[in-house]
Amino acid sequence: MSCEQRYLVDEYLDGELGQDEAAAFEAHLGTCASCRSELEAVRALIKATGELPRELEPERDLWPQTAEQLRPVEKGGGKRRWILGGGALAVVGLLAALCAGVIGVGLLWPTDPSLEPARALLSEGDLPGALAAWTELSQDHPADAEVVEGAAYAALLAGDLDEADRLLSTLPDGPEVRLRRAMVAQRAGDLDAVAEHGRASGLPAGQVMAAEVHLADSEPDQARELLRAASAAGGSVGRTADTYLSLLDADDEGRALAEATALWSVGERALSCRAAEDLVVGLPDGLERDEQLMLWGSRCVTSRRPDEAEHLLDEVLVPPPGQQWRMHALRGMIHAARGEQTLALTTFEQLEQGGAPPQGVRDARATAASLTDDPEFAVALVGDQRSVAAARVLMEVGAVDAARRVVPEDTVLASVLGTP
């Protein structure tokens, strides 16, 4: 006769029961012969399986046949030169480098302490508040370049791109103004203006932006000229230019990957993902291939293309060291983008239990929440984290009450949203 608690035997022996559950089950064992006998049987089985040899010799020597399949290691030249020379890592860093470039530009923005309150509104994500504050300042001080630049920046972040360009065009022409106009044009999707202002800026970041437009338009020669100029300046933007140049000089696949990357940078995300998918899958096996697969998988899912993302992730053979959790976080986002609520939530819960970096999982949850239009699902995805990013995502799907609950206290966004 079997006891209905016998199903706990496995978890008890595997140490999967909590302290209280284990104690309760031990008490039960004292009174239940059936469970005691089950316990002994399972314990004996676990012992026997654990004692099986960890090594077994194949019945024949597999080496000769294996050796026949090993091609000589390629040294330099051809496809592997750019893919193995750390080039791919640099490509992974492209977006980051560009972001750094943009942040660098951001640091050039006003530093006058009297502008601090308006800057704080910006940095804490209260875009309407920031835009209002900066617009008022710029109306009071129309000749103050710092103020006009700040107002343009706030307009850029708030999405009022026409206003941002109008403000910038009132300033005396110069390299930095041109670079900012290129950034605004990129946000607005006006690629001709990106190329024009980027080139005219004469600054490396502007040259790379202009080159990306030419690459996206399949004009590699014009892109090369700009990239060589940017490369000469060195720094992180110079390295970005170098990576593009090495891709362009490699082979057809390299050129195609450069174009796909440029398409992503100029905001043509759907086109970019479509262009990259087969290319990346077709790369030679290696760590770099897995990194590229994860990079483009991430890009596909964040542009709401979960099927392509899944295809790319399925191709990953071994996630790069320390990146296993990121694979699963991306799968969680894929589930979220498809509206597979239980799967998405379970994935993130498992990541949390499995020791993934907590901040990484929180960010992944917020990103996943930005991929759904269902407010309740978004709230569940965000979980119990408190961050400005999560609050902004929730505001975007219209879950304002929930946004109030997750916005950290003592932020401007909290004071704008009010308390729950």
Partner: protein, 183 residues
Amino acid sequence: MLALAREPMEPLDEAALVRRARQGDLVAYEALYRVHAGRVYAVCLRLAGDAARAEDLTQRAFVRAWQRLSSFREEAAFGTWLHRLAVNLALDELRAEQRRAERTAEAGEVYALSEARRTGPERGMDLERAIAQLPDRARAVLVLHDIEGWKHADIARHLGVTTGTTKSQLHRARRLLREALRS
């Protein structure tokens, strides 16, 4: 020959072997193969439940590892990395086979296929044979948990299921094993 090659003729500096193999030194790579083949083959055999497939998986694991050596930088962890790679290959194959079976095969064909596998050459041990005869998913969970020492969370992630599923599969696998061993 196998026994000879496995005898340590000099202290084995695995990191140095990995570096030499990365330069294209086949002799060094054969030395690495001799050290690790038994472990890789064992996990492939137990996951695949079939010697012919385990041989194929073992070869593929070593071919893949060779192709990827140029990008592999943690020489000291070669064995762990190789083992992981082999497990991934074997699990991919199990998944692919399940998809094929679900998609194309009629019930009778599936039966015929799995019977063919189960009568393949096996080690003489009852326990090994009983493990080989477990259903694929339950076998994978048991091998990874009870033999390879993986945690439920890791297994669940690799199989794309929840830990609730891996726990119930482990329970099922152990129950089936005990029944098989009793009969």
